[in-house]
Amino acid sequence: MNQNASEAILLAIESSCDETSAAVLRGDVVLSNVIATQAVHQQYGGVVPELASRAHQSNIVPVVHEALTKAGVSIRDLTAIGVTQGPGLMGSLHVGVSFAKSLSLALQVPLIGVNHMQAHIMAHFIRQSEAFEIPKLPLLCLTVSGGHTQLVLVDEHLQMKIIGSTIDDAAGEAFDKAAKVLGLPYPGGPQVDALAESGDPTRFVFAKPKRNGLNYSFSGLKTSLLYFLRDEIKKDAGFIEKERIHVCASYRKAIVDYLLIVMRDAIHQYPVQSLALAGGVSANKELRRRFLALGEEMAIPSFIPDFEYCTDNAAMIGIAAWYQWQKKEWADLSMTPQPALKW
């Protein structure tokens, strides 16, 4: 890294789903990371795309302004602008991309389009403190969120290969849907996790998903829970009320067991130097504990970013943009949002 790169100041914007976020980085150090979570969706039990886009429209300027102010950076000091190009909701992406393009045009600085899923992994390369050592490559990352479940092999920064992914639901969806049938408010995944902490994970056993190479499938597990609850409710209408914490604990265990057994297989197949966890579900307490235990057992350094870099946030977009900026992977003003962006 040259002096120039460590002094570069990037503004990053993330608006792919229901979080409006802006961050300022100097080199690989985060100066600010402001996240506005849209509360409007809670009453509907899920993200409503039109409302998400409208909320981004009203949040974008205050959020970017706050990110610059917190960082103590003037907009004229910016070296480049990074923005989520996809994947995500089209209406939401439009707001961030169009706004970012205007900043690039007005300030005459490069525009960088970032892949949101790569950025979740790049979050591990944020220098969180002076003493922080960024993970050695190759790195194996398990990315788990409401929309994705992927095993990704990172050979070089930005050079990533998906070696396994879910063929149906994402792990986060499996948690959220369980929460819904258990009568927990949206977003339910974190609630299942919280309740599971005081439950007995061995009380109930759910069907183990079939193994399919390094790929995942969560729909069977989800159905298994649904049928299990139907049967139990027939016998005792108060079943959920009585056994909720134990159902949460047992179901969470089933998901985490499955996530890590496949990851273990991947570790045996690829010579990796470090292990990483990324995405919103990496906030799950049981997953964190068991992931770190797996790293210890295999004697491979394991990394989980700070919580604010796990869920959707602009700092991760910023760090990915910073690596892209150094390679001059710049976009032009005709860049369009890509709801199903791949790499």
Binding site: Q57, S98, F99, L105
Partner: protein, 221 residues
């Protein structure tokens, strides 16, 4: 120099306005929405043609709708970004009022009904005369709507006008035009002169229709 942005229909257009007159304009109008791809290159091209940089802009004006949600998102986000980055005022122009004025200026009519197509038999409409404009409303148009107006001094203007042509008398003028950034010139200048700006932090376009979400009540178990 004021930059005007108009993206409420599939016509994506920009204009540079100086002292109320258009000095440069560009547009892309196709069957598809090309705004996401084309708006910013069009702005850059206009600035280049006018031999100025973005720094020399004094204000940004945006057509505030009603109209296509996608068009509005892209246009308003772009206008906010420029206003915010350049520290220049943001001006919001009522799209239907602008169309109505255009209709009155380009025909002998005394009253204009500005109409933007809102699909099916619906239009977003506003009645405009030289003094005023009624608030925009989403209308299902039928013949009786026009009874209140003198057909011989009426103009229907906008991309929703032509689907009403069968409902009005032959003496009524039908001006089938898309809203365009060049139509914003006089109003943008007037807003600038009167310092009528909107707050860039909190401004939202005129969606007109509240978005109503159906909440599922179906039980999974």
């Amino acid at each position: 120099m004021i930059l005007c942005i108009e993206t409420t229909t599939q016509n994506c257009s920009v204009a540079l306005v100086d002292k109320g007159a258009v000095v440069f304009e560009e547009r892309r109008c196709t069957d598809q929405y090309v705004h996401a791809e084309q708006l910013h290159p069009l702005i850059a091209f206009c600035l280049e043609q006018a031999h100025i940089t973005a720094n020399e802009l004094t204000a940004v004006a945006v057509s505030s709708g009603p109209g296509s949600y996608t068009g509005l998102r892209i246009g308003v986000s772009a206008a906010k970004g420029l206003s915010f980055a350049l520290h220049i005022p943001l001006i919001a122009i009522d799209t239907l009022h602008m169309l109505g004025i255009y209709g009155l200026q380009h025909t002998p009519a005394q009253t204009a009904i500005a109409m933007i197509d809102a699909r099916r038999m619906e239009v977003y409409a506003s009645v405009v005369d030289s003094n005023s404009a009624t608030p925009a409303e989403a209308l299902v148009v039928d013949k009786s709507f026009f009874d209140a107006y003198d057909p011989s001094s009426l103009v229907l203007v906008g991309d929703g006008a032509s689907k009403c042509s069968g409902l009005v008398s032959a003496s009524t003028i039908v001006l089938d035009v898309m809203p365009d950034a060049s139509m914003m010139a006089a109003m943008a200048q007037e807003h600038w002169d009167k310092q009528r700006f909107v707050d860039v932090a909190y401004y939202e376009p005129h969606y007109l229709k509240d978005y109503i979400v159906g909440v599922s009540t179906k039980s999974i178990l």
